[in-house]
Amino acid sequence: MIKGDTELKSEKDNEEEKGYSLTETEDELVIILGGEIDHHRALKIRVNIDTEIAERRPKKLVMELSRINFMDSSGLGLIMGRYSKMQVLGGEFVLREPCEGVMRIIRLAGLDKIIKVEKSENEKESNKNEARKNK
């Protein structure tokens, strides 16, 4: 289905309002975080994600981190909180593609030891090569 302009616009407004965008398949609910994750933004994002979890009851929750360009320890709280939530619900929880800066702080707290972190470095590399070829 091709989306009309108005629909696209409302989706973008929605993203700004909530603090993230999201995709949902049968198996997983993917929360795509971007920009700067600090105490100010984490507050709002947390409330919205929790509503999402309560409504959709996902089997697997993915937090996609590749578009984040800053994160402090408030982001750790946000991640840990959603992880515990999914533990209680008996669902899976995954962090996807954190950049090096975000990964550093995740490691510092030892979260990578308890939470699954998916990285696709090879994929990125091959995408880059692909882009170069197409130039």
């Binding site: 100010h40 402090d72 510092l108």
Partner: protein, 145 residues
């Protein structure tokens, strides 16, 4: 011998969470005179964000107060950042600095604030007095370029 101070900047801002981003961006912009690399800028921003968030969440819990920030740049490429509030103060500084220790778990504070500051800076000094406020001094020496 104390290194020569080459520049200094001060700012004060109310403890509203919307100012967190501005505080770390302003400090990073001032430090850019010393030409830090990208990872050093990221370290500074993160450490400042932690200290400022502490002022907002703990120092001025349930009230709006003023946060004072002073940044000094030294000739040996050391950056000294002082972040001060006149809030409630910390009862047990040693305990507060322990990793994962938090007094605000219900708001999902991770208890990693001081640990982040310590690992992203070379030296972190905390002076606090109950009822008077808290001062955090972050020192970071940039690599030679």
């Amino acid at each position: 011998m104390r290194q020569e101070k080459i520049n200094e900047m001060s700012m004060k801002l109310p403890s509203r969470s919307v100012n967190e981003g501005m505080a770390r961006a302003a400090v990073a912009a001032f430090c850019s005179q010393l030409d830090p690399d990208a990872s050093e800028v990221a370290d500074i921003k993160c450490a400042v964000s932690e200290a400022v968030t502490n002022c907002i969440v703990h120092g001025y819990k349930n009230e709006i107060g003023i946060i004072y920030i002073t940044v000094s740049l030294y000739a040996d490429r050391t950056i000294k950042i002082e972040i001060r509030d006149r809030g409630r103060g910390i009862e047990d500084v040693k305990k507060a600095r322990e990793p994962l220790y938090t007094t605000d778990a219900e708001n999902e504070r991770s208890g990693m604030g001081f640990t982040v500051m310590e690992s992203f800076c070379d030296k972190v000094r905390v002076v606090s007095q109950c009822g008077k406020g808290t001062k955090v001094v972050l020192c970071k020496r940039l690599r030679k370029r």
